[in-house]
Symmetry: C2
Subunit: 361 residues, 2 copies
């Protein structure tokens, strides 16, 4: 336990509203789960890295339920239909019925796959999320996006499926590798850059505390990130307009992940470089001034994140990778660019030359 | 063309309402599609049996769209995640974006798989259904159920996803094998048995016209079946209560399909035998009188449908197969039984002995 107290945030989605509980040590108490699990059968889905660290804590807290477990291999390269099928196998072998609950214990990959399994098992069952990485605590906690990758594109198969509850335990971040902590900070920084300049300034002042895993700073940053994201998502649950702002850095970032092979760059690392590329392109177009571009690059670098695309991907290949992205509407590539820090905009109104220059490493 | 005129039925689901258009020759006219397809990209999914018969008609009617096609192998045994994946492959290889439309041309298997592909491709795209079997015209036209089978259970993976439009062309039934026409009639009869005794009586009087594929009789039977189903579904879109009535014969029927191996019995055949079993069990419990039980068996037999379970499945195996059925709620097996023709009820309140006697061939 630490001095930080736990916080509770409601994501307001009408009859699919749910709480996000944020704090140290909360995965280990029965209290955290009891209002959100309404079935006897609970399938805990985790991976081989997280299981030895936290599975016992969760199982202890779930005494009294009929709990089964699936332990997946760890890594983005396993976010496939085939591995998803092993969750269905476990559910059916254990004869879980349509009133059951799936609980995801792990990072974004575990959460996305478990969420999609919950969305599609018997056409939809309950889902509780226990994210154990900073990235998943601030990203997949809000929005209801679930899914798996396809060899031809990331997150191409999936569904919107809201959890019944999210339990974000900051103590689980103590075992997170440095590189993954940094990757999570990329998304945290993203919320500041999109539309919350005062949060961006707070991050500039507190980035060292976050890197030192100060509980209080983490609870604050996670809550504020989730709140920023929830405001955008509530306005636009199915991603027609406003929500696309959350893709800042993602069109570039997905091209990096896909071009390097899933798992070589972490998602957050690719998003960091993608955000820096969006800032660069915005600067070239005269939307962003040099000072703001530098503040973005500098904060990302202080968080130990990459700010340039990998040299391995040629400019030509980069553009090719970008054209299969989900954000392509009727063949027209839309990008999230910056009018300033805290002033992101979705646009297809840019010079092709600015894009070409940005992807030319 | 025939003397029968086409009919239009609205399925009322708020902002997901859609029309069912029923009539001879309607798949071949651009008019049928034009208000329902709002994208340029259209992926037609069909199978190797239907493609040589009707694909050209549909492609002609869709001139002006960017149309691609996927031709699946034909059969319930191909309703798998693996074959589903070939639809994603085609979509991604053709660079279809999230504004695209998937059009299912074929029977229930093609419709269920294409619908689930549409529900899950990029987390949901438009879906138009062109059912070419009687079963799919009266069953999958209404309800939004989509999905694939798993080796351990039928339709265990799926989603609710409403079509933008259903185009049920009675001319396509002219090429339907006798056995499949009969299988479709099983579901038609089911609607009468559940809650529409006057339709049941109409069927007793007109079963020969339907077997002779009289267009006018078919349009009437399809429209009335869809209407009966739509009333139940509109009251209960996500299958909590009322909608379970539609599973009349299905708990027994799924056990038959699964026990014999998918594809050995047609779905409609299994449902016919399952309905006769439900009637038998209802009779044993004193819910249904002998005369009514006989009328149900007799109508099914006149439609060339089986009324007894296959001898290959032992009573013990039958019960085992039933216990993994989706309709098992917290381990309690609920069945749809009959208080009379047109008076179906969902219940878990029955003597185990009646169930055991029913499955004992």
């Amino acid at each position: 336990m630490s001095l930080a107290t736990s916080r509770r945030l409601e994501v307001d989605l009408g009859d699919r509203s749910y709480p996000i509980i944020i704090g140290p040590g909360i995965i280990s108490t029965a209290e955290s789960y009891k209002n959100s699990i309404r079935s006897r059968q609970v399938m805990v889905v985790t991976n081989e890295t997280v299981a030895p660290l936290y599975l016992d804590n969760v199982l202890q807290a779930l005494r009294g339920f009929h709990v089964e477990q699936v332990i997946l291999p760890d890594g983005e390269q396993y976010k496939t239909l085939e591995i998803l099928n092993s969750i269905y196998d476990a559910l059916l072998s254990s004869r879980f019925d349509r009133s059951c609950t799936l609980l995801a214990l792990g990072g974004g990959v575990v959460g996305d796959m478990t969420g999609f399994a919950a969305a599609s098992y018997q056409r939809g069952v309950d889902f509780v999320q226990v994210p154990t990485t900073l990235l998943s605590q601030v990203d997949s906690s809000v929005g209801g996006k679930t899914g798996v990758n396809h060899p031809l594109g990331k997150n191409m198969i999936g569904a919107f499926h809201q959890p019944r509850c999210v339990i974000a335990d900051t103590d689980t971040l103590n075992t997170l590798p440095e590189r993954e902590l940094a990757a999570g900070l990329a998304e945290v920084i993203k919320y500041g850059v999109i539309n919350d300049i005062s949060f961006f300034e707070w991050l500039e002042a507190n980035i060292e505390r976050l890197l030192a895993r100060d509980s209080e700073a983490l609870v604050y940053a996670i809550e504020r990130s989730c709140r920023d994201k929830a405001v955008i998502v509530a306005a636009d649950e199915k991603e027609a307009g406003q929500r696309a702002l959350l893709n800042l850095g993602h069109t570039f970032g997905h091209a990096i992940e896909s071009g390097m092979g899933y798992g070589v760059w972490l998602h957050g690392e690719a998003i960091a470089a993608g955000m820096a590329m969006a800032a660069d392109m915005s600067f070239q177009m005269g939307w962003l001034d040099a000072d703001e571009q530098e503040r973005i690059r500098s904060l990302l670098q202080k968080a130990h994140l990459p700010v340039d695309p990998p040299a391995e991907i040629s400019a030509e290949r980069f553009l090719e990778l970008m054209s299969v992205d989900k954000k392509v509407l009727n063949g027209e590539l839309r990008l999230v660019l910056l009018r300033g820090i805290g002033k992101a905009e979705v646009t297809a109104d840019y010079a092709a030359s600015a894009l070409q220059q940005t992807v030319a490493v």
